[in-house]
Each structure stands twice: as structure tokens, then as C-alpha cells.
Symmetry: C2
Subunit: 221 residues, 2 copies
Amino acid sequence: MRTHFADSLDDLSCGLASMCGLTVTAMSEATAALLDADLRTAERVLDANTDLERAASDWEHKSFSLLALQAPVAHDLRFTVGGLHIAASLQRMGALAVHIAKIARLRHPTSAVPPEARAVVADMGRTAVARATETQVILRHVDSAHAQELVAADTVMDELHRRLFTVTQAQQWPHGVQAAVDITLLGRFYERFCDHTVEIGRRIIFLETGRLPARPDALLP
Amino acid sequence: MRTHFADSLDDLSCGLASMCGLTVTAMSEATAALLDADLRTAERVLDANTDLERAASDWEHKSFSLLALQAPVAHDLRFTVGGLHIAASLQRMGALAVHIAKIARLRHPTSAVPPEARAVVADMGRTAVARATETQVILRHVDSAHAQELVAADTVMDELHRRLFTVTQAQQWPHGVQAAVDITLLGRFYERFCDHTVEIGRRIIFLETGRLPARPDALLP
């Protein structure tokens, strides 16, 4: 019974890692669609999100069955319950990539990102993809030591977000209110995407140690 | 044992309703702080959020103990697991009220809301408070029939959000980029707050019926 349960947990952790892989692709393509004003790529991000939604729903169903049929305790219970939070964060990460793709689609054939903001947005996209890629590895190996690094590494995106904000507030911003509004929302979407990787890191630490670490200062409400 | 468990479930549902009450106060005060540029009220919202965070952490601890010690099944399991999602949404609602209070504080002694946007923002605040108040009642009575109404009622906030967007995009917007950026973020915070009440409605329906209803179109990513 225990061995069967261990297999089931391994299944669940694979499922989370594979959903996380979908968010890596979604964020990478959403950023490309945004910077290159590429409508087909934007549409692909929107379509692909149904796969993530379906995977999350299947995952939740499986973990619910495990809880009902096997009544896990201690680590196994923490894993099953913590996984529900993680699956919710992954769904939200997919939705945020979709929001970015939708702004790309809305402004097509123009890019929503004016030249002054391009470098920072590209960096935000790279950071988000890198963070989600690390998260995927950590989920696959349920690795709380590396999860600790994920929780601590949040300052890069915050700094980029501050720089992006400064760009739109510059006296010489010539692109008007609409472009500034787009950039504000984009900055928020990238930042929230990374916030969720930190949340996942915290949950991984909890399920390995039984202790949910405090949110880093930057994430305090 | 079952009676004891029923008491525990009642306890859990009271706990969720009482957390929801904290979000009602937070959103009501955050909106007042914003419209009146009232620094003391803004600070109070920030302070009060630690109560919500503590309540959510206690709630999660209790529901985890229930899962570990009583291994609930069927409705009781759905309740305990669904409650974890609901507690997460309530925490997020509190954080969104805090974000609004922080914008009020940042722009003090000026109001972050220019006269042209005042009526719409006031309406958004009222709608958010009304929706959270309904949510509190639904949580107290675990009432899936009324939860259905909550899930269906999402169009009002969407319409307000669209109106707010139109205000900032008007040719004659005289308040510059910074004010438009503030208004954009505020609109997003109010909308996300209401999105979470819809998510809670969906979870209540799930825990009563075992069926998680689709998200309304407006909430599709």
C-alpha cells in the first residue's frame, strides 16, 4: 500500500513539474509575441492554456482521490495538500502569460512595448522564464534546499519592475497614456508570475519540512 | 465522532466567514482612505491585514489537523479541501485591499483619484464591499444556491472596469501618466478582488455538489 502510495506521489510531483513546463513555454512565447508583435504566437499562447487548465483539473481530481482513498498523514498529507496550492499557482501563472499575450494581440500590428521599455521588458521575460524553469526542476525533485534559493531570489524582478516604472514616469515619455497603461499592466503581470514561483518555493519547503517560511519582504502585502 | 466532526466543520465555516468579514472592512476602509486621501485609515488597513494573515494560517492549521486525524471523505473532504482554496482567496482579497490603501498612502495628501474617475472608483468600492458581504453570508451558511448567484453576478464590476478604462483614455485626460497608471492599477485591484468572490462561489458550489462550475466568460484567462 505504501509503495503504491509512493508511486502516486511521484505521479503527482511529475504532474506539477509538467504543468510548470507549460507555464515556461507560455511565458517564453507570450514575451516573444509581445516584443515582436507576433499575432500567431500570441494566439498559440491563448490556445495552449486550455491544456494547462485541463492538466490542473486532472491533477486536482487525482489528488482528491488519493486523499479520499488513502487518507495520507504527515509528509504524504502535506504533499497532497501543498500540491493543491501549487497547482493553483501554476494555473495563475498560465493565466498571467495569457494576459501578456492578449495585450500583444490587442496592439497588433504595433508592439505594445515602445523602444524605451524594450530592454527592461525583455529582461523581465527572461527572468520569469528562468524562474519558472528552476521551479520546474524543484517540483520534479521536490527539492526544498533549492526551493529556499527560489524564495530568496525575488529581488531581481522587483528591481526590473522599479526600472520599468521609472521609464514610464520619465518627463520625456512620448507615447501617451495608453502605452503607459499597457506597460504598467505588463509589469504587474511579470511580477505576479514570479511571485507565484516564490509561493511554490514556500509550499515545497512546507511539504518537506512541515514549516511554511515567511514571505520575503517584497511580497508582503 | 461524526458529531464532533460536524462541529469541527461548523467551526471551519465560521472561520472562513469571519475572515471574509475582515476583507469587507479592509475593502471598505481602503476605498474611503483612497477617496478622502485619509492617511490614518490607510494605515489601519495595512495594520489590520496581519489579523487576516494570522486567521488564515490558523485556519489552515486546523483543517490540516482535521485531514490528518479524521480522514474525512465525500462532502466533508470536499469541504476541508475546498476551504483551503477559499482561505487562499480571502488572503488575496485582503492583500488587494492593502494594495489600494498603499496607493492612497503614496499619494497622500493628494487623492490618487482625480475628479473624473471618482464616481466610478466609488462604485467599484461599493460593488466590491457588497460582493464580499454576500460572500460572507454564503460562507456562513455554506449556501450553494446563493453561491450560484455570486458566480453569475460578475458583469457589474467588468462594466465599471471598462468605464474606468475609458475615463483614462479620453482625449481630455489632463492628469498625466502617473495618475493614469494609478487608476489602471486600482481598477485591476478592484476587479481581482471581485474575481476572488466568484472563485469562492465556485468552490462553495463544488463542496456542496461535487461539481466545480466553469468560470464565467469574463474570468476566462
